[in-house]
């Protein structure tokens, strides 16, 4: 009898616990953060789940950015989509054009009456992902910007002052030449050439990337990357390839291997690469500064733009569940959470408060240069040309720019011809995007 009672109590307890689990609303979050970053993402979800019990965020790693986006699109078409999907910045125009698929963040926050203050965000981060009238579309999550890294030891060997970073491209060209003369295999190399050397070059010099405020004003746009300033910049880089002052190290992040191996003395790379570079070269040996600029194109640099990804909310779930999404977004933008994310990963914090928390904790004293990214993003109030980019078919347009730049580095085309061709081919892709999203 006693045993029966016990077992029924146990059974009841099991039932109750099942019921309490069921009462929790599950929020599906698909992301593209592997390795250490994936662990940081899981830690965020765990902390949120521990702090409250009404919602349970389930973070699922779906592969690369492209794979994650493709998976989310397929799931949406089958009406099996997650609540939240992480999409890289080049997918922004595609996501915006997908009306009926996306639940804009400003609307989500209003519908669920979740407190939300646009002013708490860092301007260039917020601006990239908001409408022209300042309404936030997707939740900024991992943002970075290209910064300039230098190998101090190699500079010393070339007789240069290791504490003095080149501020302008002519200074960099000069220093790179000296480094090569001192026996280095390469002076300077850049990651993500389209992002760093075309897109951010344009923003820093207040030159448009495309018409209609870089696509913020509409999808019937044309590229503008063959301006005299762009041509001068790319031609100068090509001239630097002749004596290996500039070496092209491949697409995306491949060239970082040249810098961390001590082949190149200077490197433009994502601010999120800082910890990997520190690990490889030793923290004291690495200097971080802002990207160089051309004083004859613009007397003072404007500001850089971000890359990385944001969290998009997808439609098609019961309205009640979106309250949990809103709560989770508020959690993500909390200063302590953002500061931790920023310090652990090297991505820029998305709120002003998170920067000051990090500063007060003495993080920038211990890790000099980690504040450069935010400073460079906030150098000046963004203009039409430095707010961000909203380009349809951007993945393919970046491929086109990569190909045309590679043709320059290989000496097959002059900068002018290559950039003209890139504009022509890019415009064709833009027209196709416009036709598909009429």
């Amino acid at each position: 009898m006693k045993r029966m009672l016990l077992s029924s109590v146990a059974g009841l307890a099991t039932l109750l616990s099942v019921a309490s689990v069921q009462a929790q609303t599950e929020i599906q979050w698909w992301h593209a953060m592997g390795g250490n970053l994936g662990e940081a993402v899981n830690a965020l979800a765990d902390q949120f789940n521990k702090e409250q019990s009404a919602y349970k965020v389930n973070a699922v790693f779906k592969g690369s950015y492209t794979e994650t986006l493709t998976a989310a699109i397929a799931a949406f078409r089958a009406k099996q989509n997650p609540h939240i999907v992480q999409v890289f910045e080049v997918g922004t125009a595609s996501m915006m054009a997908a009306k009926g698929a996306v639940y804009p963040v400003h609307q989500l926050m209003a519908d669920t009456k979740e407190p939300f203050d646009p002013k708490s965000f860092i301007g260039p981060v917020y601006g990239y992902y908001s409408t022209t009238d300042g309404k936030l579309l997707s939740m900024p999550f991992n943002s970075s910007t290209p910064v300039f890294y230098r190998n101090k030891e190699m500079m010393k060997k070339a007789g240069l002052d290791p504490e003095k970073a080149p501020a302008t491209w002519p200074e960099l060209a000069d220093m790179a030449k000296k480094v090569v003369a001192s026996g280095a295999k390469c002076g300077f190399t850049s990651q993500w050439q389209t992002w760093a050397l075309i897109e951010n070059f344009g923003a820093l010099h207040d030159l448009p990337f495309a018409t209609k405020a870089n696509g913020f004003g509409g999808i019937d746009i044309e590229l503008k990357i063959n301006s005299p300033g762009h041509v001068k910049h790319i031609q100068a880089l090509f001239d630097m390839t002749k004596d290996k002052s500039f070496v092209y190290g491949g697409r995306e992040g491949k060239s970082t291997a040249l810098f961390t191996a001590g082949d190149c003395a200077f490197h433009i790379a994502s601010s999120a690469t800082a910890s990997a570079i520190d690990k490889a070269l030793g923290q004291g040996n690495v200097g971080i500064s802002m990207m160089p600029y051309w004083p004859d194109i613009k007397a003072k640099p404007q500001n850089s733009i971000i890359g990385g990804a944001t969290l998009w909310v997808l439609q098609g779930k019961p309205q009640a569940e979106y309250a949990g999404v809103a709560k989770f977004f508020s959690f993500l933008s909390r200063p302590d959470i953002q500061a931790k994310w920023h310090q652990e990963t090297g991505y820029v914090p998305i709120t002003v408060a998170a920067t000051s928390v990090t500063e007060k904790a003495g993080f920038y004293q211990k890790n000099p240069g980690r504040d450069i990214a935010v400073k460079q993003l906030e150098l000046n109030p963004p203009t039409e040309n430095s707010k961000g980019l909203r380009i349809g078919n951007f993945v393919q347009i970046r491929d086109v720019m990569d190909e045309e730049l590679e043709a320059v580095w290989a000496g097959q085309k002059t900068a002018k011809v290559a950039l003209d061709d890139a504009v022509k081919r890019g415009n064709d892709l833009l027209k196709r995007f416009e036709a598909a999203n009429k």
Binding site: T66, R251, A261, V395
Partner: protein
């Protein structure tokens, strides 16, 4: 009296082939029909905005110089993979057939690469030839003074994907050639040897013609492999780069469809690719098969 097995039953044979027909319909015909339907649509990625555009996607492709370039690369790539793959594996099979000591070990080692998944093949070759850390690239540079950098040089990248694709297919060809060789009656070869035919002559007049059914089968399989099966190697090794120098048609289908989210254009490319391979197979069966001795 002639002995023949006949089925009196009328329905049983249909029932027996039914599973295969169902599988073919569900996994081949249905997706192909969907692809052809998709190839006439222009839509955004999420499918919220779909328009029927007839053959606009095809018209767009035929105006695109990049598409012709990809087709030309595919022709070179597929030709090289099929010819090299068949020639090398035939050579290996003939050699392995002659070996007496340790024959099983040789055969086992030659079959091994087939167990390696295409993506892993790509990673392995990429690692060996990596311009900064690859041991082969290092040796080429330091021992022969030859700068091998497939990350930058399109021609070298194409050579590298051809070799990786061939390497991964050789085992399969080798197995079939070896089986073919072993089924050739020894007495024929010995008779030719007694008549004074040297090894070369024996090969070309006896072995090669008798191997032709195997060779023909492998030619068809290898062409299809070169068109479709090499995707994994290309994706892992070069992703179609540098500057699309290794973008074969099947990779362009994937790239435009899944990276570019241009599903209509990608489906149109699939339809053309399917037509090309059907055409090639028909040509092989009509013109090359005539020369095959069964």
């Amino acid at each position: 009296m002639e002995k023949r097995v006949t089925f009196d039953e009328k329905t049983l044979p249909y029932l027996l082939v039914l599973p295969q027909i169902v599988i073919t319909l569900v996994f081949f015909f249905w997706p192909s029909a969907q692809m052809i339907w998709q190839s006439m649509l222009l839509e955004d990625a999420f499918g919220g905005n779909t328009r029927f555009v007839w053959f606009e996607n095809f018209a767009h492709l035929f105006q695109d110089p990049a598409y012709y370039r990809s087709a030309a690369i595919t022709a070179v790539f597929s030709g090289a993979v099929a010819v090299l793959g068949l020639a090398l594996s035939l050579l290996l099979a003939v050699m392995a057939d002659r070996v007496i000591k340790g024959a099983t070990a040789y055969k086992a080692f030659l079959v091994w690469p087939y167990a390696v998944a295409p993506a892993v093949v790509g990673v392995l070759w990429g690692f060996l030839f990596n311009p900064s850390v690859g041991i082969v690239a290092w040796a080429l540079r330091n021992l022969f003074g030859y700068e091998f950098n497939y990350v930058l040089n399109g021609g070298q990248a194409l050579v590298l994907v051809v070799f990786a694709a061939v390497w991964s297919q050789i085992s399969y060809n080798f197995l079939f050639f070896l089986a073919g060789l072993q089924s050739i009656p020894r007495s024929l070869i010995e008779a030719a040897a007694i008549d004074g035919a040297g090894p070369g002559r024996r090969f070309w007049t006896i072995i090669f013609p008798l191997l032709s059914p195997t060779g023909f089968f492998l030619l068809v399989v290898n062409v299809i492999y070169a068109f479709f099966g090499t995707f994994g190697v290309v994706d892992a090794l070069t992703k179609g780069g540098p500057a699309k120098a290794t973008e074969i048609l099947v990779f362009k289908v994937y790239n435009d469809g899944f990276r570019g989210q241009d599903l209509g254009g990608s489906a149109a490319q699939s339809a053309i690719l399917m037509a090309i391979v059907i055409l090639l197979t028909v040509v092989q069966f009509r013109f090359i098969e005539r020369k095959v001795h069964y």
